[in-house]
């Protein structure tokens, strides 16, 4: 549970929220040298200014935060939460030991950085996109407006639910429970979740290939080769397989060119 140390000077809630909102800007000033260091400083600045009236101390602390900081942008929020709670605790200590906070920072940034990238960007985002697109196509013929709003909202909400949720819960949990957050986060089995999401995504693709070849009024494919649905499907399936195999070696950019040339080839008939 939350332990409120009455002697500990605490950041007021609205300042915490300000820091949280600022953490969304963590990549605004991404640099090769400090990576997310500046963003971290920008986010935590209100808290530091509140805790330290003494400008000299403030300067020291901020200069420290400006150093290199490398983690996943979304998971920076929990780290900032932890750092703020540590800064608060630091005020109670008699000796000014910055080393502890520095070490903490370096310690957590690694493991948390590894968790984020593949899951959010390479698994959740494609799946949410597939879901949204599938919904749009499924309902396009019935009611365009609903299809559009439904599909786009699904894409937007599925991803951001995870995204903002992790930032929000991570941040406040990090603030309240300190470094325990790393263990908590490690317990969330992202790899298993990623596997489930991949499987669901594949189901959508399977259905998508079929729906696509049997046409829908958005992508008017009915006339491909003018050969009726089942032949259509076979052509689509063959193309699909060939492209999948090619993707191991050829980049999508070249494949776009390839498809243009293929189209030209088919146009000869």
């Amino acid at each position: 549970m939350i332990e409120i140390d009455k002697q500990r000077k605490q950041i007021p809630l609205f300042l915490l929220i300000t820091v949280f909102l600022r953490s969304f800007f963590i990549q605004a000033v991404w640099s090769f040298e400090r990576l997310l260091g500046f963003g971290l400083t920008y986010a935590i600045l209100p808290a530091i200014c509140y805790l330290h009236r003494d400008k000299a101390k403030r300067k020291l602390i901020i200069e420290e935060y400006l150093s290199c900081f490398n983690t996943h942008p979304y998971l920076a929020a929990p780290i900032i939460g932890v750092l703020i709670s540590e800064e608060e605790k630091m005020l109670l200590l008699t000796h000014f030991d910055r080393g502890r906070i520095q070490n903490l920072k370096v310690q957590i940034m690694g493991p948390l950085g590894a968790l984020g990238d593949t899951f959010f960007w390479a698994t959740l985002r494609p799946f949410a996109a597939l879901l949204g697109i599938s919904l749009i196509f499924l309902f396009w013929d019935k009611n365009k407006f609903v299809a559009l709003i439904g599909g786009l909202l699904s894409f937007f909400c599925v991803y951001n639910l995870f995204h903002v949720f992790i930032r929000f819960i991570g941040f406040f949990r990090g603030y309240h429970t300190g470094i325990q957050i790393v263990n908590t986060l490690k317990k969330i089995n992202l790899q298993k979740t990623a596997r489930i999401i991949s499987a669901l995504g594949l189901i959508l693709i399977g259905g998508g290939v079929v729906f696509f070849s049997f046409s829908c009024s958005l992508f008017d494919i009915g006339g491909l080769m003018n050969l009726g649905s089942v032949y259509n499907f076979s052509v689509v399936l063959i193309l699909f397989t060939v492209i999948c195999l090619l993707l191991s070696t050829v980049t999508p950019a070249k494949l776009i060119l390839g498809l243009i040339l293929l189209g030209e080839f088919f146009a000869l008939f």
Binding site: Q27, W30, V210, F233, P252, L259, F265
Partner: protein, 227 residues
């Protein structure tokens, strides 16, 4: 035409901020930015179409691999959608889509190069911040934060403006030169592009273990469709 490109570049520049710098709540992604731009120019359907296509194709890395391709994808999305919509204000041009998508590749490439430049610029900005802090001017942090965002916006604005302008010129030149047969080829290519989109996502998700999910879904849907 210039007016439209200006609007496109402004909206695009703002949306592109979401790609890496601010929040990443997906409004920079082609699937969302496409319809938004379509809505602004009064052609929602095309915006949606192009956006969907690009979202699927560019789910992975951009040609110049390396870091997060978000800004590249965002900018090429805005470019391609804008190009298609603005070009077609004068009338539908069949076969435009594949050309726009292909040109988008170039824009994405340039965007990634630009991102590296911005990274170096930010190095200097951070050094500037160091000096501010040394002089106890703590407001310097906020200032530099917004300066960097303005730089990103300016870069996105310029890239979209110039590439859309050149793209439009190129396309009108191209479609005056080629014969109807080639246009037919482009139309066929347009119909095949979604397959590429699906294939890319498939490649991303598929492993030996979960291939069966795809296959079963395929057969089930096929069965349902034929019955």
């Amino acid at each position: 035409m210039i007016k439209e490109i200006l609007i496109l570049a402004t909206v695009g520049g703002l949306l592109a901020l979401d790609a890496t710098a601010v929040g990443q709540i997906l409004i920079s992604q082609p699937l969302i930015s496409g319809p938004i731009i379509g809505l602004i120019f009064g052609d929602l359907q095309t915006g949606l179409l192009v956006g969907t296509l690009l979202q699927l194709i560019w789910i992975g890395k951009l040609p110049v691999g390396g870091a997060n391709p978000s800004l590249g994808v965002a900018l090429l999305g805005i470019f391609s959608v804008g190009l298609v919509i603005i070009y077609q204000t004068g009338g539908i041009q069949p076969g435009l889509l594949p050309v726009a998508v292909f040109l988008g590749t170039i824009v994405g490439f340039l965007a990634q190069k630009g991102e590296a430049v911005l990274g170096r610029v930010n190095d200097n900005l951070v050094h500037l911040a160091d000096r501010f802090i040394e002089q106890n001017k703590f407001w310097g942090i906020e200032a530099i934060n917004w300066i960097s965002l303005i730089f990103i916006f300016i870069f996105a604005f310029l890239l979209i403006f110039i590439s859309t302008f050149l793209g439009l010129k190129f396309c009108s030149f191209l479609f005056r030169m080629i014969n109807p047969q080639t246009v037919r080829g482009l139309i066929l290519a347009e119909k095949m592009l979604p397959i590429l989109g699906l294939a890319v996502v498939f490649k991303l998700f598929a492993t030996r273990r979960n291939f069966s999910f795809f296959f079963i879904a395929l057969l089930l849907t096929l069965g349902l469709k034929l019955l």
